[in-house]
Symmetry: C2
């Protein structure tokens, strides 16, 4: 199993390869791919080698080979169902993001506590939290995007966990307390923006 940072790179290789393929490339050198995604050539080779992906001593790697190896690693041969909990601005935006679809991830439903959001305004069905268990079971969902306000995050996470969710993409700026078997990936856009301000020399 890859490390969390390595996985990020592998997924970026995949995106870069898709782009390069569209441009007509059939073979790629570690150096080329590295440059495309911002990774050193050595690290590209090391990552592939770690997964038993072979290149040709002089001709680099075959793009299709790489892609199918990566798709296999990430289970991209089947559709992966996801739910979005919290249909505020961010939840709505994410549930409409076309990139997910293109990468075989399917947002099957949204959830919200606000009854006003439970109508047909959206492109996906939006349910009240009571239907959580039912939908999770019906669509065999194990990963959820959590886009509720900070104060509701922990309580909502608890509900998700109690219904069998084992992975949470958490957009709220709080550390969630979850059992060991549940993996939480925190994305904090505010922190990312503040960090950028600090390091780009705007401050001081």
């Amino acid at each position: 199993m890859a490390s969390f940072t390595q996985t990020k790179r592998l997924l970026r290789y995949r995106m870069g390869l898709i782009r390069l393929k569209k441009m007509g490339l059939e073979k790629v050198f570690s150096y080329t791919l590295g440059k495309e995604v911002g990774v050193s050539a050595e690290l590209v080779r090391k990552d592939f080698s770690a997964f038993g992906i072979k290149g040709h001593r002089r001709g680099g790697y075959e793009v299709d080979d790489l892609l199918s190896s990566l798709e296999k690693i990430f289970g991209k041969d089947r559709i992966q169902n996801v739910i979005v909990v919290g249909m505020g601005n961010m939840g709505r935006a994410l549930s409409m993001y076309k990139g997910f679809r293109e990468h075989n991830m399917n947002v099957v439903a949204g959830f919200d506590i606000d009854p006003a959001k439970l109508n047909k305004k959206f492109h996906i069905p939006v349910y009240s939290m009571e239907s959580l268990g039912e939908v999770i079971e019906a669509f065999n969902v194990s990963v959820a995007v959590l886009a509720v306000p900070e104060v509701a995050a922990q309580e909502t996470a608890n509900q998700l966990v109690s219904h069998g969710i084992s992975g949470i993409l958490n957009l709220a700026p709080v550390l969630l307390k979850t059992p060991d078997h549940v993996l939480v990936n925190n994305v904090n856009l505010m922190v990312e923006l503040e960090r950028l301000m600090y390091h780009s020399g705007v401050i001081q």
Copy 2:
């Protein structure tokens, strides 16, 4: 100057401290704060020590002290103006995010190439790309959120750079080519979701 990873922690301390303060805490131990934000107590102390922030040998740190030190480090005494480029789902959601406001970051304008988006539907003014330079100058903006489609990302980034932007929060899944003095922070929600799926054991 802090490292990029350290900055992330410092910003998280700040968020955690705000929460703890709301709960009535006046003093905090490195252990308590660490637990709140998911960092070891040793690292909390080391981070503060690196910025010359002192605690009391037995009484921990004063919450207000910590907060004002952190606000100073991150220039939170003045408002930081930001623009959002690309007013699709994601750009719109981000431009409406209240958390920014609460943390003294002000989204002063949005930009889009689609003339249909240039009307008054939004809570902030939305301009065409021609007004970029003018707005950047008028509001003294140096950081932009880039939320345009993948294919437009590089070209749009070029425009931002040519108008003096020195920090880009890039939501598009591409590595941007920018001059050395421009800092790019990439946030790829698709990768984060896929990564979560992989590591939460959904795949395989």
